[in-house]
Symmetry: C2
Subunit: 223 residues, 2 copies
């Protein structure tokens, strides 16, 4: 079975829908690859224009600025994650199994599902780990939040929180635990790779280590 998923992304995130044209799609596709390659701070629309073989002005017709492009990419990712959670939990009853699957999705790179995606999923994953906090750690947070641009993140968080409550109805912080699991899956993975003394990484790979840590944390806490 081979299929494509696409999501409607919040209209406030773009000036012209990048999904509506070949150029728009290239901007997002190469945007992901370039942000991954050089990091968000060094990323500029000028550099992206060269990759895409278009002009800076053309990119500005799609996105107001690079922060909006990052938000667009992350919105896409969060929507995709929520879809994946839904999809993989179908027909599963046991809450423990559900939680295990979720932790796997959070810490695993999505490589295996790459067939169904139009973007470089490895680059996308790295961006989520290294750059996603830059989407909300900005002074303009309350303004941009009014545009509902964090709705997919909140939805994903709420969905995971539901499963947490299913598993242990008396646990008092399902949403906070959910966002902590998401954030920690990024930070521990990043630390394991770049500042390993902030972790207990042994001989495992960073990804595997992160999963082990999250599993221990979740199931000991909710026991």
């Amino acid at each position: 079975m081979d299929f494509q998923v696409s999501f409607t992304v919040n209209e406030k995130l773009f000036l012209r829908n990048p999904d509506s044209s070949a150029l728009g799609k290239k901007i997002v596709k190469y945007g992901i690859e370039l942000i991954h390659e050089i990091g968000f701070e060094h990323f500029t629309f000028k550099k992206l224009a060269i990759q895409v073989e278009t002009t800076e002005a053309s990119i500005y017709r799609y996105f107001e600025n690079k922060h909006r492009l990052l938000l667009y990419i992350l919105n896409w990712y969060w929507s995709y994650m929520e879809f994946l959670v839904d999809y993989t939990l179908k027909n599963i009853q046991d809450p423990k199994t559900k939680l295990e699957i979720i932790l796997n999705l959070l810490s695993k790179d999505l490589g295996e599902n790459s067939g169904i995606l139009q973007y470089n999923i490895n680059a996308l994953n790295q961006i989520v780990i290294s750059e996603s906090s830059k989407a909300y750690l900005v002074k303009e947070i309350s303004d941009i939040n009014k545009d509902q641009v964090f709705k997919p993140y909140k939805d994903l968080c709420a969905k995971i929180a539901t499963v947490i409550t299913e598993y242990n109805p008396s646990y008092k912080f399902p949403r906070s635990l959910s966002s902590t699991l998401i954030e920690t899956s990024h930070s521990q993975h990043y630390f394991a790779e770049n500042l390993p003394r902030l972790t207990d990484l042994g001989t495992e790979k960073p990804q595997k280590f992160t999963l082990l840590f999250l599993q221990n944390l979740t199931f000991e806490l909710l026991k």
Copy 2:
């Protein structure tokens, strides 16, 4: 008792020691206030020069760029936190009490200790919450890490890990839990204030809420 604390900050972080002159001290002091006020992205040495009533060129004699200034500020903060942990744990034997004190230090704003500090501790606290991840989430991480600029963070993390192990010697992830507690104290506080649906904030203040969440997490997990 009234006293001042100061720490030797890694020499690689500056070109000229800001602690060695009145101008240098003003640069750091107003740097903290300006970063807090307008956010790291909007912060420039030009704007800081206006606040300090000096020139851009003069600031560049102290710090290579704004990222180094942020690292300097955070190094100072991490050293100060480690000092505070040491100081407040003096003569305390019970590991549980120790952990409780640490969680208080992590989630509390340091207002009460402001007397002994040369900087605006409220601004410093907000910077740590909103900007500290920008110090390490950069492409240059492995290069800057070679300059040992994260040593104070690692030391603080190791110190807290020691207490975790004291409290529960069989727990397998003391360092990762330690860095997770530090990071989560920032992210949950930030979310509670700006994206509360990612948390279980009720009627408590964000700070109190963060403490309750961390206490529950820590003691249930290490039980």
